[in-house]
Amino acid sequence: MSIPQDLKYTASHEWVRVDGDEWVVGITFHAQEELGDLVFVGEVDVGAQLQAGDKAGVVESVKAASDIYAPAAGEITAFNDALEGAPELLNSDPYDNWIFRMRPADGASLAGLMDASGYANAIA
């Protein structure tokens, strides 16, 4: 399924899942397909306080580095370090392999994010 119905999406091709009082963030099928084979995921700063749209980490394919962004203001609470030894998991299972978790700041909302059909239109 390239655009799961139960997730929210950013214009910069991240997906967001709500898990209790945290958001879980990864990159979409479309993103990994555009990037090609991924060879590095990192620069996620656990504990960092970010604004919406701030750089939250980097994914690198063989060809180029690509920043990933915080979907809302908040604090980064975890990095999925399974991706350190196996960045290719983002190619094979982009929705099962999250990149970072964050605690959204007061007032941060999902309202600014796209639903599945909105994202489908955005990448059409």
Binding site: S12, E14, V39, E43, V59, E60, V62, S66
Partner: protein, 384 residues
């Protein structure tokens, strides 16, 4: 995530005669210097490993074949190029830089000495992005110095490279007559070629593996490609081509050298021939003779996690606390055969040698890298 916006081309991209073959093989096409070319056919990493372990085929028809023939063809090339074609036997090739008057590299290329007809004949293969400029330069050079020869751009020809330990075996299945021609006598040695009409088959390549490059009429290349695929050769794109050549320690024009760099500064002193004929005058020689190079090329292997790219600052870590010397990476990538990241870098001459640890700046932070001798890999295996 950045970097995924679609871009529409401002001008139509040029296509090789294999354009539709790439679409049929599900290539991801990209703008490569104005050409619509396949970066991969599914997985750049798979295609890289395929060439190191089996056989892959690259469309290199965007590169340009130039014929040079006439009474003065040898004298022309000996004045034009830093390497000396005088040492070539018929059927032999060499790799050379073509320099401007300042000793800077206009292009790197391969020259083949072919069977003479009534006059000496040579074939020059130049890079896609520099072909038009190279041809204009060669014509002007010949005219200004009064060399009697004809130069012809052969855009009627296409070219494919079949590379890997199984390249020759699979080529023999697809093209038994051509393979038999190449295998005559003691067989084709590296940097040698056989000719049959408009076909040229050369034991050359840009991957560090055994294989061949095949020049043939553009009208025939799609059928030839299909025949290679039927013989078990799989398509490989420009992404894999770049990681393969980098691991093999081979320069990429426009990145590892350009007109501001002499061959002595980019690891190509071995292609400058001042020995076969010490009296030979070639364009740019006086600058090379004027003194030792102030910069030199080194290989780097990243010791921390991450990926080296071009234009990253490199600094030495002197043991005695002296000021670090600064240089820059020229090419860098993840290297699939090494499962590590590597780069070529240009440093002040003598500032760093194999075995030293240096630091490279990646997005504002310094990471440790080891200076290593190139090539990084050959014949399917990592060397560092």
């Amino acid at each position: 995530m950045s970097g995924t916006s679609d871009s529409s081309a401002a001008a139509p991209l040029r296509r090789t005669p294999l354009y539709h073959a790439h679409l049929a093989a599900h290539a991801k096409m990209v703008d490569f210097g104005g050409w619509d070319m396949p970066v991969h056919y599914g997985s750049q990493l798979d295609e890289h490993h395929l060439v190191r372990n089996d056989a892959g085929v690259f469309d290199v028809s965007h590169m340009c074949n130039v014929d040079a023939y006439g009474a003065d063809a040898e004298d022309f090339l000996r004045a034009l190029l830093a390497n000396d074609v005088r040492k070539l036997a018929i059927g032999q090739a060499l790799y050379s830089c073509m320099l401007n008057a300042e000793g800077g590299v206009i292009d790197d290329l391969i020259v083949y000495r072919l069977q003479p007809s009534e006059v000496p004949r040579y074939r020059i293969v130049v890079n896609a992005g520099t072909a038009d400029g190279d041809f204009a330069w060669m014509q002007q050079f010949a005219q200004q110095r009064g060399f009697g020869l004809t130069l012809r751009m052969r855009r009627d020809l296409a070219m494919v490279a079949v590379q890997g330990p199984q390249a020759w075996a699979k080529f023999a299945v697809a093209q038994p007559a051509l393979a038999a021609l190449a295998q005559q006598g003691e067989g084709l040695k590296p940097f040698h070629a056989v000719e049959a009409g408009d076909y040229l088959v050369a034991r050359t390549g840009y991957t560090g593996e055994d294989g061949l490059e095949w020049v043939l009429p553009a009208s025939e290349v799609h059928a030839a490609w299909d025949g290679l695929l039927a013989a078990g050769v799989r398509p490989a794109g420009l992404g894999a081509r770049d990681t393969l050549r980098l691991e093999a320690g081979m320069n990429l024009y426009g990145q590892d050298m350009d007109t501001t760099v002499t061959p002595l500064e980019c690891g190509l002193a071995w292609t400058v021939d001042r020995k076969t004929d010490p009296a030979r005058q070639f364009e740019g020689r006086s600058v090379l003779d004027a003194g030792p190079a102030k910069r030199s090329a080194i290989g780097l292997k990243l010791l921390d996690r991450g990926v080296l790219r071009s234009h990253m600052a490199v600094r030495t870590v002197p043991a005695d606390g002296a000021a670090p010397q600064i240089g820059e990476t020229t090419s860098g990538s993840y290297a699939p055969t090494l499962a590590a990241s590597i780069a070529m870098a240009r440093m002040p001459a003598g500032s760093a040698k194999a075995g030293d640890t240096v630091e490279v700046e990646i997005r504002g932070k310094w990471y440790k890298a080891l200076v290593v001798k190139m090539p990084f890999a050959r014949n399917g295996k990592a060397l560092v």
